[in-house]
């Protein structure tokens, strides 16, 4: 396996119910930023969750491989998988308001992985946390370390979460709609921060979003999903110049754009939806699990 993260034919389904992911394959190289794009129910966050081992209990992986740093995570025993994910990957979650434990101090929440899982000494972990808070430009980092989450603004909490994600120098970060809950001006700062941190640390980044605008700013390549199926996989430049799949093109056409009053807001044509649904159905015909 050459890529740092390599997902091979990953299929997931609700236990005894419908499929959510249909033989998804994708690679993320070290230093690459890959966007996962799609509408709700497309399965884009399921992929991120599968990689991090946090799928909802009702969802099970039915087939496929997830190679992270040369190891197939799905073949490891649960305890080993947990440790391995904790040491090599991290998550930047969606909602900064609920992603920090309200009853624990910020400092503890940044350092806990280093101390409890990776066995750092507390002093060293705290020094590292301070360093990171400085790096994500949190003012008065010493004070923030002792603060509780409700004392910080939304944007500040997201910075803390980014610092926390980079704390253990992970080689892969999954960002799950990290700016959806933020105002657009704050979103710009946070996106910029994520891009800078990613570039500086050379991390592989899996960026889950429904916003094509955001994708065009931070990602190098992207996968477009519909109904748990990757319908297009391409570089960002090619995608915006000439999307290959009709569904991708329709999605792009439906996206509003303030610079061009005529563009955007065109509903996805029914024919396109029918065609892509047919593709999904075709994928299911080859599925042995019924």
């Amino acid at each position: 396996m050459s890529a740092f993260l390599s997902i091979r034919n990953l299929s997931a389904a609700i236990r005894g119910g419908p499929r959510l992911l249909r033989a998804v394959s994708l690679d993320v190289e070290v230093g690459e930023v890959r966007g996962l794009v799609g509408e709700s129910g497309a399965g884009k966050s399921m992929i991120g969750k599968a990689v991090l081992g946090i799928l909802p209990r009702a969802v099970e992986v039915v087939a496929g491989e997830i190679w992270l740093d040369g190891v197939d995570l799905l073949r490891l025993r649960p305890a080993e998988r947990r440790r391995r994910i904790g040491a090599t990957a991290a998550l930047i979650p969606q909602d900064p308001l609920t992603a920090l434990n309200p009853s624990r101090r910020i400092g503890r929440q940044i350092t806990d992985r280093l101390v409890d899982i990776l066995g750092w000494r507390r002093g060293a972990a705290e020094a590292r946390a301070l360093e990171l808070l400085n790096e994500v430009r949190v003012p008065e980092p010493e004070r923030v370390m002792r603060a509780y989450p409700h004392e910080l603004s939304g944007g500040m909490r997201q910075r803390v979460l980014i610092a926390s994600a980079f704390a253990a120098e992970p080689k892969l970060i999954v960002a799950d709609e990290p700016t959806t809950a933020l105002d657009v001006t704050v979103q710009k700062q946070i996106l910029r921060l994520i891009a800078q941190m990613q570039a500086r640390h050379g991390t592989a980044l899996l960026f889950v979003t429904h916003d094509l605008g955001v994708v065009s700013k931070v990602c190098g390549s992207l996968s477009v999903l519909y109904g748990g199926l990757v319908v297009e996989e391409t570089s960002v430049r090619d995608f915006f110049r000439a999307p290959a799949h009709p569904y991708s093109a329709a999605l792009l056409a439906a996206t509003p754009k303030y610079t061009d009053p005529a563009a955007g807001l065109n509903p996805v044509p029914a024919a396109v939806i029918d065609a892509v649904r047919a593709e999904v159905a075709a994928a299911d015909r080859n599925w042995p699990h019924g």
């Binding site: 105002d183 429904h210 094509l212 605008g213 065009s216 329709a250 439906a254 955007g264 807001l265």
Partner: protein, 270 residues
């Protein structure tokens, strides 16, 4: 064209319960700080701003869900700012509202038909059943949906029911509060296209509250930018987007990630 709404020096403060003294009234936190503007008949006004800008509060004052603490709101020449509820009632037919979250704005235990018909019955309309059908036709939902419950519909469909309920009354004015922010782009595009069509066909005046400037650009004839309870810019949409005058408007526009890899967005800087 005459103004449907004339708002002058509108102020609103809400009591701050966290600083309420043991006895007596709580101090008020200012939400709106003296807004003055007018909405001509037939205009589609976009109200944009970040969270905490007061845009939803302003909307709720316009339809008098909230009573202002200062200033005046004239609706079609009549001062409604402190009108008591029973004198407001006859006017209520004329201004309607569509809510952000269709799940919470549709009573979960009533069928769609009943939800659309209730305000009609209240205002003594005739041919109610026919009007409900008409409204469903207008928003492109099958008439059979009147027998369904809200939870049996998709998000986009629920939002259409909200629109149908508002237009069934044939109001002069509709307030749409973030009505597409919970929807996927494809449903969003459909709902917006529908709204644009209804405004044209029914001759509506519309106030469209949104945090998304791109959507406002597409739909609205004039745009008002709010920041911390004040109007920072209020001009025709084309002019505003072509040459934003206020710093805050420029900042907002610059922050929008366009679906375009060529947009200059210096990620390395700052």
């Amino acid at each position: 064209m005459a103004d449907l709404y004339t708002v002058s020096d509108l102020r609103l403060g809400l009591p701050d319960m966290t600083r309420k003294p043991l006895f007596g009234a709580a101090p008020r936190i200012g939400i709106l700080h003296g807004l003055s503007f007018s909405v001509p008949k037939g205009e589609v006004l976009g109200i944009v701003g970040g969270s905490g800008s007061g845009k939803s509060t302003l909307g709720r004052v316009l339809v008098r869900l909230l009573e202002p603490t200062g200033g005046r709101v004239l609706f079609d020449g009549q001062d409604i700012s402190h009108l008591p509820e029973d004198r407001l009632r006859p006017l209520r037919r004329r201004f309607q509202m569509i809510f952000q979250d269709p799940m919470s704005s549709l009573n979960p235990r009533r069928r769609i038909g009943g939800i659309i018909a209730a305000p009609l019955q209240l205002h003594g309309f005739d041919r109610i059943s026919a009007r409900v059908d008409e409204a469903l036709d207008h928003v492109g939902l099958p008439r059979a949906f009147r027998h369904r419950f809200p939870h049996e519909l998709s998000g986009g469909q629920r939002q259409r029911v909200g629109i149908a309920r508002a237009i069934a009354m044939r109001p002069d004015f509709i307030l749409a509060d973030e009505i597409v922010s919970g929807l996927d782009v494809s449903s969003q595009a459909q709902v917006l296209a529908l709204l644009a069509e209804l405004v044209r066909d029914l001759g509506l005046t519309l106030a469209f509250i949104s945090h998304d400037l791109s959507v406002v650009r597409r739909l609205c004839t004039s745009t008002m930018v709010l920041h911390q309870g004040r109007i920072v810019e209020h001009r025709p949409t084309d002019a505003l987007f072509a040459a934003p005058e206020a710093d805050y408007t420029r900042e907002l526009l610059d922050a929008i990630p366009l679906p375009d890899p060529d947009q200059r967005w210096d990620l390395a800087a700052g």
